[in-house]
C-alpha cells in the first residue's frame, strides 16, 4: 500500500485499546499514517500511530506469500494432538473464529489477560457480585473508591469521561463527588490534581486486607489490628462511617493489577463490602479491564463454550481448566503446537515454547523465537471493522476501517488456515 499523500480527517472514531471505549476520537489519516487529533490520550497516541508499515508474512524465518504462510500454519496445527490457541487479543469476529478453530482442532484456550479474568471469575462463580456500568457510574456515583488501580495510567481518560465529566443526569455536580483512592503511591502520583480526591496509601498486595477491615467495621465487628493492610485503623473507621451515607457509591478495581497470590480474595473482599452496603443503600462495583479484547473474549468464550476463559476443548467438549490452561505453563509443558494472536499490540509476544508456533500479530511484532509461521494481521478498528466490548461487558462498540490495508483480519486469516487444514 503506497502513501497517496491525501490527508483525511475521520471523526467519531472508536478507540479499541484500553477498554474504556472512547468513541469520540478525531483521527487524521495520511496514507497509512494515523494521528489522533482530538480525544487523544497517551495510550491511543501511540497505539494509533505505531508502525504504519505492513509486515510481510514469514515461514520458518523466510519471507513468504500469505498463501504459503496460511498453508504452513495449517501444517503446524493439523497434526497437533495438544494444541494451544492463546493471546486472542483481537476483535469479536477474530475471537469467535479462533474459538471455532480451537473447537475443531481440540485446543486449549487462554486469553493473554486470562489471569485477570480468572480472578474476577472466581468471585462470580462462588458468590456473585453487584456491579454497574460506565454511564451508570458516571451519572450516579456520589462517592467513588478506587481500589488500588493505577487508573490515571491504565485508563487515561477515566476522569474526563467517567469520574469527572462536565455534566451528569443526577446530583451532586460531577466536580463535587468525593473520590477515595486506596493504593500504592506510584499510582496515586498519576491521579489528577483535584482536592476532592483523597489518597490513602496502601501496598498493592494489601488491598484485600483493607477491604476486609472495612467489611468488619461496616458490620460493627471489632478490628484486631492497629493498621489493617498498613492503613491506620482510624482512617478506615472514618471512611467506614461515610460508606452507608452514600446514595450510590461505586468501587472500581482492576483485576489485572491484583497480580499477587490471593488476588481473587481481594476482589471478593471488595465485592463482599458492596454486598453488605446494599442492605441499606446502593453501592456497586465497576470492574476495570478490557485491553487487548479481554472483555470481548470473556463474553464470546462464555456464550460459545459455557466458560469465560481457560477452556480445554481437547476432550471434544469444553472443560473449564483455570489452572491447567495458564497459557505460559501450558505452552511450555503440554502444548505440541501454539497459535498466538495479538492484533492490537505488537508488544504482546507468544509464550516461550519448544512447540512450533503460528503467530497472527500486529505488524512489527518481534517474537524472541522465530515462529514457524508469522502472519501479520490488520489492527481491528484501524485496518478493518468489527466489534469490541467496552470493559463493562454491556456495550459492544462497532469498529471502523480507517485506512486501506492489504492485511487479512484475524477472522480472515483463521478462515484461511481452516480451509487448508
Amino acid at each position: 500500500m503506497t502513501d497517496n499523500g491525501s490527508s483525511r480527517t475521520l471523526r467519531d472514531v472508536v478507540c479499541p485499546f484500553c477498554g474504556l471505549g472512547c468513541d469520540d476520537l478525531t483521527v487524521a489519516a495520511q496514507g497509512r499514517t494515523l494521528t489522533v487529533r482530538e480525544g487523544v490520550c497517551p495510550i491511543s497516541e501511540v497505539a494509533f500511530s505505531a508502525h504504519p508499515e505492513e509486515d510481510r508474512p514469514r515461514t520458518d524465518g523466510q519471507e513468504a506469500s500469505l498463501d504459503q504462510a496460511l498453508a504452513r500454519a495449517a501444517e503446524v496445527l493439523r497434526p497437533a494432538r495438544r494444541p494451544l490457541v492463546a493471546g486472542l487479543g483481537t476483535d469479536g469476529a477474530g475471537i469467535r473464529s479462533a474459538l471455532r478453530l480451537a473447537d475443531r482442532i481440540g485446543a486449549g484456550v487462554d486469553h493473554l489477560h486470562g489471569a485477570a479474568g480468572m480472578r474476577n471469575t472466581a468471585v462470580v462463580q462462588t458468590t456473585g457480585w453487584i456491579t454497574t456500568t460506565l454511564a451508570e457510574a458516571r451519572n450516579r456515583a456520589d462517592l467513588w473508591i478506587l481500589a488500588g488501580s493505577d487508573v490515571g495510567r491504565r485508563y487515561p481518560r477515566f476522569f474526563e469521561r467517567i469520574a469527572r465529566p462536565s455534566e451528569t443526569l443526577f446530583e451532586p455536580p460531577p466536580n463535587q463527588r468525593p473520590i477515595v483512592f486506596i493504593g500504592p503511591e506510584t499510582a496515586a502520583a498519576n491521579l489528577p490534581a483535584d482536592d476532592r480526591i483523597e489518597r490513602i496509601p496502601c501496598a498493592e498486595d494489601r488491598i484485600g486486607e483493607v477491604f476486609a477491615a472495612l467489611r468488619a467495621l461496616e458490620a460493627g465487628r471489632p478490628l484486631f489490628e492497629a493498621e489493617p493492610g498498613g492503613v491506620p485503623a482510624e482512617r478506615l473507621r472514618a471512611l467506614a462511617e461515610r460508606l452507608p451515607r452514600a446514595r450510590y457509591g461505586v468501587i472500581a478495581w482492576d483485576a489485572g493489577e491484583l497480580d499477587f497470590p490471593g488476588g481473587d480474595l481481594a476482589v471478593e473482599a471488595i465485592t463482599g463490602l458492596i454486598d453488605q452496603l446494599n442492605a441499606h443503600t446502593r453501592w456497586a462495583g465497576l470492574p476495570l479491564g478490557g485491553r487487548d479484547g479481554a472483555t470481548t473474549f470473556g463474553q464470546a468464550c462464555t456464550w460459545q463454550t459455557g466458560f469465560p476463559g481457560r477452556v480445554d476443548l481437547g476432550p471434544g467438549y469444553p472443560r473449564h481448566a483455570p489452572h491447567q490452561l495458564e497459557a505460559g505453563r501450558f505452552a511450555a509443558e503440554e502444548a505440541d503446537a501454539v497459535l498466538w494472536i495479538s492484533a492490537f499490540d505488537a508488544g504482546r509476544l507468544p509464550p516461550d515454547t519448544e512447540a512450533p508456533t503460528v503467530v497472527l500479530g500486529r505488524s512489527a511484532m518481534a517474537p524472541e523465537r522465530e515462529p514457524t509461521a508469522y502472519i501479520p494481521v490488520g489492527v481491528p478498528g484501524l485496518d478493518h471493522g468489527g466489534q469490541a466490548y467496552r470493559m463493562d461487558g454491556v456495550m459492544a462498540l462497532p469498529l471502523a476501517r480507517l485506512r486501506e490495508s492489504d492485511l487479512p483480519s484475524t477472522a480472515d486469516a483463521i478462515a484461511g488456515i481452516e480451509q487448508r487444514l
Binding site: D23, V124, Q125, E167, T302
Partner: protein
Amino acid sequence: MLRKLAGGRIFDPINGIDGEVRDLYVRDGRLVEPPGPGEPVDEEIDLTGQMVMAGGIDLHTHISGGKVNLARQMLPEDHTAHPRSRTETCRSGSGHIVPSTWATGYRYAELGYTTAIDPAVIPANARHTHLEGADTPMLDTGGFAMLGNDDYLLRLLATGAEQPEINDYVAWILQATQCLGIKVVNPGGISAFKFNQRRLDPDEANAHYGVTPRTILRTLSRSLHELGVPKPLHVHASNLGVPGNYESTLATMEAAEGLPIHLTHLQFHSYGTEGDKGFSSAAPHLAEAVNARDNVTIDVGQIMFGQTVTASGDTMRQFANRANADPSKSSLMDIECEAGCGVVPFHYQDDSFVHALQWLIGLELFLLVEDPWKVALTTDHPNGAPFTTYPHLIQLLMDAGLRRRALEALNPAARKASILEGLDREYSLYEIAVLTRAGPARLLGLRDRGHLAPGAAADITVYADDPDRERMFSEPVLVLKDGEPVVRQGRLLRPVTGRVHAVHPDYDPAVEAKLADYFDRYLGIRPQHYRIDDEELAEEGGVELHPCRERQA
C-alpha cells in the same frame, strides 16, 4: 427442488385444519400450491400416520444477551455436568439450564422449534444479543427491547412530553436495536431501585421522576398501538413473586386502558395472601380477568421442579429473591441509566409449599384461561425451568390423569390450597399447536410463520402419533427449516442459520438530534455507535422486516 410431504395429519390452527390428512408441497424454503399436472415432484417424504405442525415458536425465552451470559459465567457446575460433544458438522457446547449458544440452537431444533424470541434486550446490550444470535444456529430469532426504566423515557414522562414525541423515541429504539417489540419490566421499578426504593406499586411514584408504573404502561401500550407495531406491549408486571401481587397484576391489565397488552410469566404474578402461610393461588381470579378482556394475552412461565437459574431485568425483585438463592450466590447489575439485570439460581422442590404452589398456579392458569389463542406456552426459560421441559409440560396439559398422579408427590398443604385436582380440562393437539406456534406467530405479527398454507415459510415439524405425548414432543420424526430437513428422529442432521425478525416503524428524524445531544452530554457514546445497521446482521442470517400498520400519531 419441489418436495412433497405426503399423507400426514395436519394441525394448522391458523388455517382451521385439525388433524386432516393432506399433502404439503415445499419449494425454495416456502410452502407452495400443489404442482400442476405433469409437473414433477423431486422428492416425496411419506408422512402417513404422522402429525404435522408448523415449526415451534417460543415467544419468551432468555437464550442470549448479557444477563444470560452472566448466568452462564456464574454456573460452571451446570456446564461441567452437561457437556455436548463436537461432531463432524456441529460445534461443541455445554449446559442444561443456561446452555451455550450452539447447544441452545441444536436442542431447540431437536425439540421441533424453529423460532425463539429473546424477550429482554437491553438497548445498550442489543449488539451483544445479536452477536450471540449469530452463534445460535437453527433458529430464527427476534427480541423485545426493554424500555420503561430508561432515564430518557422517564424524563420525557416527568416533563409531560406529548405522546408523538414518545412514539418517535420508541420507534427509534426499535430500529436501533433491530427488535420486534417492546418489553417493560417492573415499570419504573428498576430505576427506582437505583434510587434505593425497594418496592414500587402500580400507583406509586418513582422517587426521582415522580412517574408511576401505571403512566409508563399506559404510555408505552399506546405508543405501540399508534406506531402500528403488531406485537402488543410485553409486560413483566410490578411486584414479581410478592404474595398478594395479583392486585398489581390486575392494575397492570387496567393500565393499558383497553389497548393490547401481553402479561408475561403470569404465574409469578398470580399470588394471593390467604391461608396460614399467607401465600395462596390467585390464578382463578386472574384467569377470569383474562377471560373477560379482549385486549389481554398472557404466557404462563410454568415452573418445573429441579435446579434452574432466574435471570431477569428486575433488579428490585431479584435483590429480594437473593434470600432464596440456591446455590447461595447471586449477581446484580445496574445498566447504563436504562436498565438492569439480576441472576439468582433457584432449586424448585416439590416438597416446598411455595414451590409446589407455584407449580400448581401455573397449571391452573393454563387450564382456566379459556381461549388458547390468549396463552403462549412458556417456562420463562430458564426462570421457571429450562425449555427442555416443554414436552413434559405439554403432557401435563393433555392428560388430567397424569396431573392427578403428579399431585401425589407434592407438598400436601400446597395441594390442598389449589383447585387443580378438580380441573378436568385436557388440551387437544390442535390447542397445543395454538399454544406453541400459531398463537405466538399471530401475537408477534409473523404472518408467514406458525402455519402451513402456501406462502408460509417452510418451517415444519413432524411428530409420531405416540400416545406418550412427552415422548412424542421430545423426539420429532422430522424437522424442516426453510424447507430443508435438519432433524430426524430427534437427532440433528446439520446446522443451519436462521434470521432476525424485526420491525422498523417510522419516526420523525428530529428525534435523532435530541438523542445525539442527550447521548453526548450524559452517556458518553455516540448514537451511531449504539444503533445497529442492517448490514451488521448479515452473519445472523440477515434481518427480515415485518410490516407495521400505518402510524396514527
